[in-house]
Symmetry: C2
Subunit: 514 residues, 2 copies
């Protein structure tokens, strides 16, 4: 091997653009890329046992760093294993560059066993897809992929590299392509300003960069100066929260509750969010949850320059006095764990700088309401709704922010989709604490079925919704992947174990008996 | 709920066509289908914690029963999680009907979080894809899906059902569509006969139904009557083996060995197999492994009526004396396990009727050569090459043949992709014994990298190929999913534990230390 292959050239392209982290599950078609990686010590390489761990981790990484990681995936089927979390990442507006190996250009036509339509596999879950046809176009292809990943606030770019492109001599120049993003239209800013000053009940639905950092502060200023209410979609990529930060009202998951929350507004202004719609449709319930009589306008879509829109609007509104910070004290009762007690314990245990990934589904639904007054923390949820994002997101957040503790709240059913991420947490000794909310049931589905009358709470159980035969032993599963673990049955136990774990290096898993 | 919904109607269609087994991981969009399933006790419902377990199990089920199972998957991302094993099933020519829920017809346009291009997701890994547009077309759509799954010896059919089609009142009649399959052309049969009688060195490469049951016996008769050599592709869906059955020479995985195996043939006749090609292309090596000078002809593609082709050809060849059965005795040495000792132990432990699923990759490569003289058994391997098929195939074989023991040989890296299948084995108390060949390494990739010079055996390790930091504890992982397990370090231990497990009901896992 020399440093003169296409594989080396591609890695240099990525490094020069700041893409220095790769979540990988390689195979034979990627062996020259895998070998070349060892020649670049500046690349952080995270081996994942399952590809959904890689794409989900890259999502978590992008949310915390606001820059893309690369994934390295093996042909169409390896990419396919990563698609569900690509879906989630795409819906979260995360930035990512998937490097997918393919058969050599001259072997493809023989339809060997692992051959499939890689571009077709990528397309439904990527914003940009391209197969490099030869070493000569690798420079422009890589530059386009990187620019695509960085455009519109973050996109999924999938670059397919035939094995012979990776193993051939480098034959291209480094190229740079500028990422693009739509600036806000001044007419929209003016109309929003008018709505904010006309005295009508107004909600501002925030999304993406409006929910953390500078964006959130500007949104708080706009709300304080106009009297508007800040809202956020049920599922947002990253929400910064804490007692001294502007608070948003989260639009609930159940349709009726969402409709009720929005019913008092006559005007809804979207900044970085789409119009709120129901997660699913139900017989006789609306798809759109905003009042039919309310007027809606968008200042910036999730893909636009949200920071600029907020800055312009905040400048027009002028400075405003922020509400006095209110630190809430969450009282924790003792006793056998329930979902409500569990979220009490977690809210009481939040420390400054904690990153929380919440895929606790029904078990942790009460957490968001309790944690507004906690010390400052980041709150990440599954945005695309494909369950199995939680553990991988926590892995990626841990790689992105090795100095911050990460807490992953997961359902037991949820964690079972992508539990292999635990192994990568152990491998990198990340301070990630995972709480498995072990209710041995697809509880969310039961709730949905009760709601539509497809099942009754006092009727017979449907075995397709029960995880209790056998119950999973999460202590055993975690230890199998090299993560120490403990089962907690009471609030007192959970409090003690959780607080120790958050303060200690390395991963830990807690099976919370519900 | 009444029995009068579209969901009920669909299930009745499936049952009337003999599709009575469903591997499922349902979600909200499938809740009416999930509820309706409880109204049909004749449907065997197998809950899978991960969708790749469902599609892989349906593959194993189809290989053993030669009929389709249904899968039930949640929207585009749930289907996506099943794609890698759909790829393997498609390459294996397995029959399957994927029922995938989608958003209601009226909600789709709002692009809710879980919305994606479901048809686009299905297409690269399905032979037939359709979305039912309303309750009125469900009868023809279901019939077409069933016929597609049963056509050409087995296909992947994906039927997408919007939630409102499932919950609406039934509004269609039961319809029947005839599956199709190409009969052999008489010109091809005649040419093959001529080749078999012209005295030149001739190989017959068998695939699909030619490798077990009646097909294999006919193939044996043709070989005995003509002097031709029977061959099989490296990866075949199902091979029946045993001391009193015709034996096939398996074309090796490494390109050089494959070329050497085929070099002596001047004529190659394909019956149920495609032309053999290299799994991957390597610098300076050929893609086609048959001699350039050899003549090739196809009597039946893997999609054609292979049984009929064999019958016609065997009739023309006439009866022939089969070679005398030769029962081989595999001597087993004692001592610390090595891949070679491990396959000795397994070959010595094969019992009549055993179903073996082999995804042991490098660790079990010597098994096939040793097991020709074993009692009759079925041998299933990963045909599409996307690792992670083993455990799900074993699950499906166990559901298909509850009275036969199943032995799953798996690499540790392989098993980590889809280990959730263990839970479903425990749930259904299947007599599946899984041996994890624990070498803590992606050994196959190292071999490939040595071969092309991307790494040297005495050079530094590449962390992306090492699974030893931390080593997985497979006893712990299995117990976490409710499967009893034990680690074996010697051949004596493995022999004792394996033979007990095969003879005992319920699943068991053995971590074989290599």
């Amino acid at each position: 091997m020399t440093n003169e292959t296409g594989a080396h050239f591609l890695l240099e392209n990525l490094l020069k653009s700041g893409v220095d982290t790769c979540f990988a599950n390689p195979g034979t078609s990627e062996m020259h890329l895998t070998a070349a990686m060892e020649d670049y010590p500046d690349v952080t390489k995270v081996l994942c046992l399952f590809e959904g761990g890689a794409t989900g981790a890259a999502d978590g990484y992008a949310r915390m760093t606001r820059k893309p990681a690369a994934t390295l995936l093996h042909l169409g089927p390896g990419l396919a294993n990563g698609l569900a979390n690509l879906h989630n990442a795409k819906k979260a507006g995360s930035s990512m560059i998937n490097i997918v190996g393919d058969h050599t250009t001259f072997h493809k036509k023989y339809d060997a066993p692992l051959n499939s339509d890689v571009e077709g596999t990528a397309r439904p879950y990527s914003d940009w897809v391209k197969t490099t046809q030869g070493p000569g176009t690798l420079g422009t292809d890589a530059a386009e992929a990187i620019a695509a990943a960085k455009s519109h606030g973050g996109q999924i770019a999938t670059l397919i590299i035939p094995a012979d492109v990776a193993w051939s001599e480098r034959d291209a120049e480094l190229v740079y392509v500028t990422p693009t993003q739509q600036a806000p239209e001044s007419a929209a800013i003016e109309q929003a300003l008018q709505w904010l000053q006309n005295g009508k009940p107004t909600g501002i639905i925030l999304g993406q960069d409006a929910l953390f950092g500078e964006g959130l502060k500007l949104a708080g200023q706009i709300a304080a100066g106009s009297g508007a209410t800040l809202l956020s979609p049920y599922a947002s990529a990253r929400t910064e929260r804490g007692y001294d930060l502007p608070e948003t009202t989260r639009i609930p998951f159940p349709v009726d509750a969402a409709v009720a929350t929005l019913s008092r507004f006559e005007q809804l202004i979207l900044i970085g969010a789409d119009e709120p719609v129901a997660f699913f449709a139900y017989p006789g319930k609306p798809s759109r949850v905003a009042p039919e009589t309310a007027k809606l306008m968008s200042v910036a879509t999730p893909r636009d320059d949200i920071g600029r829109a907020l800055k312009q609007l905040a400048t027009l509104i002028g400075p405003a006095k922020s509400p006095t910070p209110e630190s809430l004290n969450v009282p924790v009762s003792a006793g056998a764990l329930t979902p409500d007690l569990l979220t009490d314990v977690v809210a009481a245990s939040v420390t400054e700088g904690l990153i929380i990934v919440d895929e606790g589904v029904t078990s942790t639904r009460s957490f968001f309401g309790k944690s507004a007054g906690c010390p400052r923390h980041d709150y990440l949820v599954n945005v695309g709704g494909s369950i199995g994002a939680g553990l991988p997101l926590a892995l990626g957040a841990g790689i992105a922010c090795p100095d911050r503790p990460v807490l992953c709240l997961s359902g037991d059913g949820s964690a079972a989709f992508t539990l292999q991420a635990l192994w990568s947490m152990a491998r990198h000794n990340l301070n990630v604490t995972t709480i498995i909310c072990a209710n041995n049931s697809y509880e969310i589905l039961k709730g949905e079925m009760f709601r539509v009358g497809a099942m009754t709470p006092d009727g017979p159980k449907n075995p397709l919704l029960e995880l209790d035969g056998p119950c999973m032993n999460w202590v055993s599963l975690a230890e199998g992947f090299g993560v120490s673990a403990q089962r907690c049955e009471t609030a007192e136990d959970l409090t003690a174990v959780l607080q120790t774990s958050l303060a200690s290096p390395g991963p830990y898993l807690i099976e919370a008996a519900l």
